[in-house]
């Protein structure tokens, strides 16, 4: 074993650390996750296994043959035609060509598509165009085609939306008004999510991804959970994936409950129980990354949360492993040494069912 380990900081900058520094960051990282989530730390054997993944001197690492998992994504089939914000490469090709390239050149397990904006609200007025697009794509693809959209409750507040903005009401001390407007907006979002997904179901949609859920806090999460429960009744043959926006449900409302459980403050191992209860088929936890901490620290946290989430889950768990979540640096061109180490650790130690 070499004493020096080349890894990266949470912002992507390459850094050389001693073996002891890496081990210490891993120990502190798992302890941080355990303290916050009130869950067990990684065991000594798991800590050692994680260290060995970082100590591997090869740039790219992988799981053993037979231990491979599948992937789902949030619109990755749009990557060939998408812009910088979505990690896209802006090729001048059609949507159909983009999806088939993703399926057949990148050999994807599933293909995620959606409106290029990807939020639910802009889809509603053009849902017929999305139905046409999905139907055509689904005739041509062999892999499961998953339509995704972000609930994104934030778009429902002024000036973008119709509802008074809680971010303006809260600083003014109008607590009850801030809560009321979030409840009203969440009801509208819930209805819109059901409307869009039900329309896609009519044209044979096989899978729907509620991506980046709870980005606007507990009311946002409530809307997604209620929509999924409703959709499982009216669209029973459409699989639903629920992907989160962060490790912790923000309590922007603070008092919202679902099936008797307070949503604010939930960590992934609690969130997955909500997802399971409403009928979601796959859950995607997102664990935050600190740019100023090392990748060993960030990945140890992610693996600790994911391991506990998989342990309590009755449904498959696909951790979100994109830029700035689940151990990957907050950088738009995620370094492959970190990408493969995160994937290997989350599968081999975290026991993830997919990514």
């Amino acid at each position: 074993m070499q004493n020096k380990v080349i890894t990266r900081m949470g912002d992507g900058a390459r850094v050389e650390m001693s073996a002891e520094q890496v081990k210490e960051d891993i120990r502190v990282g798992t302890r941080d996750a355990a303290d916050r989530g009130k869950i067990p730390e990684l065991t000594p054997d798991e800590l050692e296994a994680l260290f060995e993944i970082f100590a591997d001197t090869n740039r790219i690492v992988a799981v053993k043959p037979g231990a491979e998992v599948i992937t789902t994504d949030d619109g990755a089939a749009m990557t060939p035609i998408a812009d910088q914000a979505d990690g896209g490469v802006a090729l001048p090709m059609s949507y159909m060509q983009s999806v088939l390239t993703y399926e057949r050149v990148c050999c994807a397990d599933t293909a995620g598509v959606g409106h290029i904006d990807y939020s639910c609200k802009p889809v509603k007025p053009i849902v017929n165009y999305e139905k046409q697009k999905y139907y055509s794509l689904n005739q041509a693809t062999t892999v499961p085609l998953i339509y995704g959209t972000q609930p994104n409750l934030g778009l429902y507040f002024q000036p973008d939306g119709a509802f008074p903005n809680p971010s303006e009401l809260l600083p003014a001390g109008k607590i009850s008004e801030a809560r009321e407007t979030q409840e009203a907006a969440a009801e509208q979002l819930r209805n819109d999510l059901v409307f869009v997904a039900r329309n896609l179901y009519e044209v044979g949609c096989d899978g729907f991804n509620f991506d980046t859920a709870a980005s606007a806090g507990d009311a946002d999460f409530l809307a997604a959970l209620e929509a999924i429960r409703e959709l499982k009744k009216i669209a029973p043959n459409m699989a639903i994936e629920l992907g989160m926006s962060s490790e912790f449900v923000l309590g922007l409302h603070g008092e919202i409950t679902f099936d008797g459980a307070r949503l604010a403050g939930m960590y992934p191992h609690d969130q997955v129980k909500m997802a399971e209860a409403v009928g979601a088929d796959i859950f995607g936890p997102a664990v935050n990354v600190k740019a100023a901490k090392s990748t060993p620290w960030n990945l140890a946290r992610a693996v600790t949360f994911v391991k506990e989430t998989v342990k309590v889950a009755g449904i498959p768990v696909h951790p979100n492993v994109g830029m700035g979540v689940c151990g990957l640096p907050m950088y738009e061109s995620t370094p492959i040494d970190c990408t493969t180490r995160a994937a290997k650790a989350l599968v081999e130690i975290g026991k993830a069912d997919g990514l």
């Binding site: 062999t142 044979g204 498959p316």
Partner: protein, 83 residues
């Protein structure tokens, strides 16, 4: 199997391998799976000119794995000329 049956990865792999008549480790063996996919006509990479792909391959996969797919149900309903 994860999407339609909520199976965890180990159970899902075992189920698919059993249906295909191969071992779990062979599911990701390119040399084995290319031939399996060609024999069962469920889409291959590289593509074969007269091989199934798209919704036809999806329909064959659904039948092979004994699962119900929304897209396949819709496709089959459009083939029923009497309705």
């Amino acid at each position: 199997m994860q999407l339609t049956q909520r199976m965890k990865i180990t159970e899902a792999k075992e189920y698919v391998a059993r249906k295909l008549g191969i071992n779990v480790i062979e599911l990701t063996d390119e040399e084995v799976m290319h031939q399996v996919r060609q024999d069962l006509d469920i889409a291959t990479l590289p593509m074969i000119a007269d091989g199934a792909s798209g919704i036809v391959a999806k329909s064959r996969i659904a039948e092979l794995l004994d699962i119900e797919l929304n897209s396949v149900n819709l496709f089959k309903s459009k083939l029923e000329f009497t309705k």
